[in-house]
């Protein structure tokens, strides 16, 4: 009997203790959520909200703050099905958008091919040349207009990415400083400035104009057989490839090594400070650091949520133009394949070279997007030692 009473008492004690722990946990969670909402009220996110709300082709109308709050409360779920649906619908709507221009190109190319086929029976060599000249000129006019608009879109998106970098970095760096990542912030501050001023300026003022030059050279080299500037195209392409490769390698290696080192140093500093408190102040040392940790943990969680929301903003800014350009390039290649047996070599060659030029535009856009992606990722992953 005594044994049974003992067992019941032990179970009751355990239950009481566990209830106490649970209550303590709830209290801490409430304190943390209060802390987070206080910090959210005090940090200025208006520019980020404006940027996020102005992104075109977002899948839903959710605003920036609700994304951040959902991430903080753990309610944000990545639904892969809806993302794939969004990507498919965006791709096919882009295909629909580009179809009128591309069908016109195909019709002109087929018309030109048929007319050249009839040459031997009805037309002279001179008239045949004039037909080819007119057909080529109309295809060039159709596609060059589209290429200029794509070039302009790429420029606008890169400028938008620079704007996102300029808006997002002060917020994240402030939160990083607030959470004790002083060295990380000191490392990332010039790195972010280098990305938004240096790297993006190089893309805007050197690489994009070079892509423009390639477009112009491709038009010229396909327009007339007497003008041969294919080696110029190769030369310019080489410069672009080297520049992009060099920038990504230097920026990526520099940022990763510096970022990881500083994050480790900050982590060790924070842990050393905690250890010092726990040991220098006996008995309640462990309890003392709790309240202080909650303030820092709030900042870290907000920083990470803003980082992830910025990644979502970056994704929606870049994906739509990339899909449009990719679909256009793919259909151009298809038209080039279709027209090769019927029409003049120059028409299919022109379509292929335009498709290559679009690829350079996509690569330029994705390179800048990738570098900002890496930067945001490292900013999000740094100074998390308190958690």
């Amino acid at each position: 009997m005594k044994r049974k009473i003992c067992i019941v008492l032990i179970i009751a004690l355990c239950l009481t203790a566990s209830l106490g722990c649970t209550n303590y946990g709830f209290v801490k969670a409430d304190e943390l959520s209060d802390n987070i909402s206080d910090q959210l009220d005090n940090i200025d996110l208006s520019e980020l909200e404006d940027f996020f709300n102005n992104i075109e082709n977002k899948p839903n109308d959710a605003d920036f703050l609700s994304y951040v709050k959902n991430l903080l409360s753990g309610e944000y779920n990545v639904e892969f099905e809806s993302i794939f649906d969004y990507l498919f619908s965006a791709f096919f709507s882009d295909v629909k958008k580009s179809l009128p221009t591309l069908i016109s190109v195909l019709v002109i190319a087929i018309f030109c091919g048929i007319m050249q086929g009839l040459r031997s029976s009805f037309l002279s060599q001179g008239i045949d040349n004039i037909i080819l000249f007119v057909s080529l000129l109309s295809i060039i006019l159709l596609l060059t207009g589209e290429m200029i608009s794509m070039w302009q879109t790429t420029k606008n998106i890169i400028e938008n990415i620079a704007k996102l970098c300029d808006i997002m970095s002060p917020v994240i760096l402030t939160l990083m400083l607030a959470s004790g990542g002083n060295l990380s912030a000191a490392v990332y501050k010039p790195a972010v400035a280098f990305l938004s001023n240096g790297v993006i300026n190089i893309f805007l003022s050197i690489i994009l104009p070079l892509v423009g030059i390639i477009i112009a050279f491709s038009v010229i080299s396909n327009f007339s057989t007497s003008i041969k500037i294919n080696k110029f195209i190769d030369f310019t392409t080489g410069i672009i490839k080297w520049l992009i490769g060099l920038i990504i390698a230097v920026f990526g290696i520099f940022l990763s090594i510096q970022g990881i080192t500083s994050a480790t140093y900050d982590g060790i500093s924070i842990k050393a400070a905690k250890y010092a408190i726990s040991n220098s102040v006996p008995i309640i040392g462990g309890f003392l650091k709790d309240g202080f940790d909650l303030v820092i943990a709030g900042s870290v969680l907000i920083k990470n949520a803003i980082g992830v929301s910025s990644l979502i903003a970056l994704f929606y800014s870049v994906i739509s133009p990339v899909l449009y350009m990719a679909s256009f390039s793919l259909i151009l290649k298809f038209i080039s394949a279709l027209t090769e047996p019927i029409a003049d070599v120059r028409i299919s060659g022109f379509c292929t070279s335009m498709s290559k030029c679009i690829t350079y535009l996509i690569v330029t856009l994705l390179s800048v997007g990738f570098m900002l992606f890496i930067t945001i990722l490292l900013l999000t992953l740094s100074a998390n030692a308190v958690l």
């Binding site: 917020v171 010229i220 007497s226 003008i227 400070a273």
Partner: protein, 160 residues
């Protein structure tokens, strides 16, 4: 650049029209080579004007730094200081002195770090809850607070 592409386009169209009109023969070959020279000159035009281009590498690398939100740093430092003050009171309680009021005077340096200037321990309403001597407890509290805040003992001031 727009001017260059436009002039290049015009030159190319003119050259293409000329090669369409020109009859085959020796003269045609000469004119075609002259046209090719003109195209090359048009292509190289930006290189000839390279002296006029000035790239300021200084602004490329050292542009505008990200501006930190000072108001938020002030707010978060205030919150951290409140936690420090609360913990100092708990610390004193643990040593054996209840109901003390801690006020920390601080500033924020350029790296957004808190620099503690003075720690005021107000013992006006304090109650001793230990068997230790009055003077020893105050010394112990000063010691513990200085250790916890990682500051010099001299800046921990007691008001009775």
């Amino acid at each position: 650049m727009k001017k260059w592409i436009l002039s290049l386009g015009i030159v190319v169209i003119i050259v293409a029209i000329i090669s369409l009109i020109l009859p085959e023969g020796k003269l045609g070959k000469y004119i075609k080579s002259i046209c090719s020279l003109i195209v090359i000159l048009a292509v190289l035009q930006p290189l000839l004007n390279l002296k006029q281009i000035e790239v300021n590498f200084n602004t490329l690398i050292n542009g505008n730094d990200a501006t930190i939100q000072v108001d938020f740093i002030n707010y978060i430092s205030g919150a951290k200081i409140k936690e420090y003050e609360k913990n100092c009171n708990l610390l004193a309680e643990n040593v054996g002195l209840e109901y003390i009021e801690t006020v920390i005077e601080y500033s924020i340096n350029d790296d957004a770090k808190i620099v503690i200037k003075k720690v005021n321990l107000n013992l006006k309403d304090a109650v001793i809850i230990s068997d230790k001597e009055h003077i020893d407890i105050i010394e112990e509290v000063i010691d513990a607070v200085a250790k916890y805040l990682n500051v010099n003992k001299e800046i921990v001031v007691v008001y009775e």
